[in-house]
C-alpha cells in the first residue's frame, strides 16, 4: 500500500480492480481543515481518466506491473507475435490490444510491454522509429511554399504528413508519441 505522503506523478496503482497511473497529485488543505491529495489517474488499459481525492494518511494499493523488453517477430492474421528478450518466450497479442503501437511495428523492433498481474496490457514502441514510405504522390519540383504538406503512407499503414519534396520509397524517422514525421533517414 502507498500512503498519501508517497503520492507522485507516475505511480502505478490499482483502484477498483483496474490498473491506473497517477498523472497528477496535488496537496490541498482548506484554511481550517484537513489535508487532502487531489489526484488524477489514467486507466492503463482503457485510457479513461479518473479523479479521486484522498485524505492525508489514506493509501492505495500498488499495481503489480512489470515492464518486459520484447521484440516484434511477425504478424499472423489479426495477431501480433512478440518474443521476450529475457525468457525467449513468445507472446501473441490481438491488434485491438496494441493501440497506436501497431502503426510502428516492423520486424525485430524492440518494444516495452507492460504486464499487469501476468497479463499484457500495453505495448510501448521506442520514441522514434524508422519507416519506409510505400505510397506517396510525386513531389512537385520547385514548389517551395513553406509549410505545405502531403500525406504519405508508411509500410505499416500509418499515414503521416510530409513536406512536398519527399518521395515514395524514402525512409522517415517518426516520433511515436505524436505520430508525426521528424526527418528523412538515408538507407
Amino acid at each position: 500500500m502507498i500512503d498519501t505522503s508517497k503520492f507522485r506523478k507516475g505511480l502505478k496503482v490499482e483502484i477498483d480492480g483496474q490498473p491506473f497511473i497517477m498523472t497528477e497529485s496535488q496537496f490541498v488543505k482548506p484554511g481550517k481543515g484537513q489535508a487532502f491529495n487531489r489526484c488524477k489517474f489514467k486507466n492503463l488499459i482503457s485510457g479513461a481518466t479518473l479523479e479521486r481525492t484522498y485524505k492525508s494518511g489514506e493509501s492505495i494499493a500498488k499495481a503489480d506491473i512489470v515492464d518486459e523488453e520484447m521484440q516484434f517477430l511477425y504478424q499472423s492474421g489479426d495477431d501480433y507475435v512478440f518474443m521476450n528478450n529475457r525468457t525467449y518466450e513468445q507472446l501473441e497479442l490481438p491488434s485491438d490490444q496494441l493501440g497506436d503501437a501497431k502503426n510502428y511495428l516492423t520486424e525485430n523492433l524492440e518494444v516495452q510491454i507492460q504486464i499487469w498481474n501476468g497479463k499484457p496490457i500495453s505495448v510501448e514502441p521506442p520514441n522514434f522509429v524508422e519507416l519506409e514510405i510505400t505510397q506517396c504522390d510525386p513531389g512537385v519540383r520547385g514548389d517551395t511554399v513553406s509549410g505545405a504538406t502531403k500525406p504519405a503512407t508508411m509500410s505499416t499503414g500509418h499515414v503521416v504528413h510530409v513536406p512536398l519534396f519527399i518521395e515514395q520509397g524514402e525512409w522517415l524517422r517518426i516520433d511515436t508519441r505524436t505520430g508525426e514525421y521528424v526527418d528523412r533517414v538515408k538507407k
Binding site: G10, F27, G31, K32, G33, T53, K55
Partner: protein
C-alpha cells in the same frame, strides 16, 4: 568596475550587475567564471579593460541553485516591490506595523495545524514556531490599538505542495470596532493596487480573474449545495472537506475574486458565531475567505471576544490533539487575559502574501517565486 569574466570565443566579456557589458579580452586572460576587478578604458578602439586583478577564482562551475538565483532577479524585485507596497498601503491608512515573536509558547491550537518545536524556554517549557501571529496581535486590540498589521514569517509542518510551503509569509491586519464588511472593503481596494504595484494591469492581472470589478459574495451553504448537490450541514467534517476541496474550492474566484461567507460552526476556529442566513443553517461561523482562481488567498474572522467561549474552544482543541497523539501546547494565558480584560469587537484577516504574488505574476506554483523553496516530493517516477 568588477564582475564575473566569461569566456565566449570572440565575445569574452565582463559581466557586472548592470549586466553584460561586452569587453575585449585583457591579456593575460582570466579563467572562465573568475571574479575580476578592472579599470574601464574607452577610446577609439571601444570599451575594454585596461588592467584587471583577480578578486575570486571560480574553482567550481555554478550549481543549478546558483544559476536559478541569477535568473530569479525580476521575480525577487517584484517581491520587494510587493512587500514595500503592502507596508506603505497599510501605514498610509493609519495601521501600525508590528513585529511579534516568531518563537512562542503557543503556536495556535487548531488541530489541523502541525507546529515545529523550537527548543525550550527559560521556564523549561517547549517553544514553537508560530503558525500565525494572531495570538500576539490580538492583545494589542485589548490594549487600545485600533488598526494594526504584521508581515510575518509563519511555519507549518506537513504542508507541502504547489501552493503550500512549510515556511511562508503571511500578512495579518486587524481593525477594532469593525466587522467583516470593513475587511471586504479593504480587500476590494487592496487587490487592484497590489496588481499595479508589481506592474500588472488589474483588469488582466490574473488569468481569468479581474481584480477591478469588486468581489463576488457567496454563502458556504449555498455554493456547497450548488456544486455538490449535498447539504453541508448533513455531512461529517472529513466528508464535507473532501467534497469542498474536490468540487467547491477549484470553482471559486474565476471572473472576479470570490468571498465565501458563513462557514459551518465546526470550522469557526477563532471566529464568533452568528445566526445563519435565511434558508441556511441556524448558526454559522462569522468567517470569510477570499478565493482567486480556485486558490484560497485570505481568511478573515469577525473575532471571537468572549473569553469563556475562547477558553472552551482552546481546551477542546487541546483535547482533540491529545487524543490524536499530537503535540499539545499549553493555553496562552496572556492571550486569554487580553480577552478577559475586554477586547473590542474586531475583525482580522490573514492573507497569503506568497500565494497572491505568485498568482499576480502568472506563475503556477510557489517554488517558481521563492529563492529557496522546500522541494515538493521526490523525483517523478517513470
Amino acid at each position: 568596475m568588477a564582475g564575473r569574466y566569461h569566456h565566449g570565443g570572440a565575445s569574452d566579456h565582463l559581466e557586472d550587475e548592470s549586466a553584460g557589458l561586452g569587453l575585449p579580452p585583457a591579456s593575460p586572460r582570466p579563467d572562465d567564471g573568475d571574479l575580476v576587478a578592472g579599470t574601464l578604458l574607452v577610446d577609439d578602439d571601444g570599451p575594454r579593460l585596461s588592467e584587471w586583478r583577480l578578486l575570486a577564482p571560480a574553482h567550481a562551475p555554478a550549481t543549478a541553485t546558483l544559476r536559478r538565483l541569477a535568473s530569479l532577479r525580476p521575480r525577487l524585485e517584484a517581491r520587494r516591490d510587493f512587500h514595500h507596497f503592502l507596508r506603505e498601503h497599510f501605514t498610509s491608512r493609519g495601521f501600525l506595523e508590528l513585529e511579534t515573536p516568531t518563537r512562542v509558547l503557543n503556536p495556535g491550537l487548531e488541530p489541523q495545524l502541525a507546529p515545529f518545536a523550537a527548543g525550550v524556554g527559560s521556564d523549561g517549557s517547549t517553544r514553537y514556531l508560530i503558525t500565525s501571529p494572531e495570538l500576539h496581535l490580538k492583545p494589542f486590540l485589548s490594549a487600545g490599538y485600533e488598526r494594526i498589521f504584521e508581515l510575518a514569517r509563519c511555519f507549518r509542518d506537513d504542508e507541502l505542495g504547489p501552493w503550500h510551503q512549510p515556511e511562508f509569509t503571511m500578512l495579518e491586519w486587524y481593525r477594532s470596532h469593525a466587522d467583516l464588511d470593513a475587511l471586504a472593503d479593504d480587500l476590494a481596494e487592496l487587490l487592484p493596487l497590489a496588481a499595479e504595484a508589481v506592474g500588472r494591469r488589474p483588469d488582466t492581472a490574473v488569468t481569468s480573474c479581474r481584480l477591478d470589478r469588486g468581489l463576488h459574495r457567496e454563502s458556504y451553504h449555498d455554493v456547497f449545495h450548488e456544486r455538490t448537490g449535498q447539504s453541508a450541514a448533513e455531512l461529517d467534517f472529513d466528508e464535507r472537506q473532501r467534497l469542498f476541496v474536490e468540487r467547491v474550492e477549484p470553482s471559486l474566484g474565476w471572473g472576479v475574486p470570490t468571498l465565501l461567507l458563513d462557514y459551518p460552526v465546526d470550522e469557526a476556529a477563532l471566529a464568533r458565531r452568528r445566526p445563519g442566513p435565511p434558508g441556511g443553517p441556524a448558526e454559522v461561523a462569522a468567517r470569510m475567505e477570499l478565493f482567486l482562481c480556485g486558490k484560497e488567498i485570505a481568511n478573515a474572522f469577525d473575532e471571537l471576544t468572549d473569553p469563556d467561549e475562547q477558553r472552551r474552544r482552546h481546551e477542546a482543541d487541546r483535547e482533540t490533539r491529545r487524543a490524536a497523539g499530537d503535540l499539545v501546547p499549553p493555553l496562552d494565558e496572556g492571550f486569554l487575559a487580553a480577552l478577559e480584560h475586554g477586547m473590542p469587537p474586531s475583525a482580522g484577516i490573514a492573507l497569503g502574501v506568497d500565494r497572491l504574488l505568485t498568482l499576480l505574476l502568472g506563475l503556477s506554483s510557489l517554488d517558481e517565486l521563492l529563492p529557496f523553496p522546500e522541494p515538493a516530493g521526490g523525483p517523478e517516477l517513470q
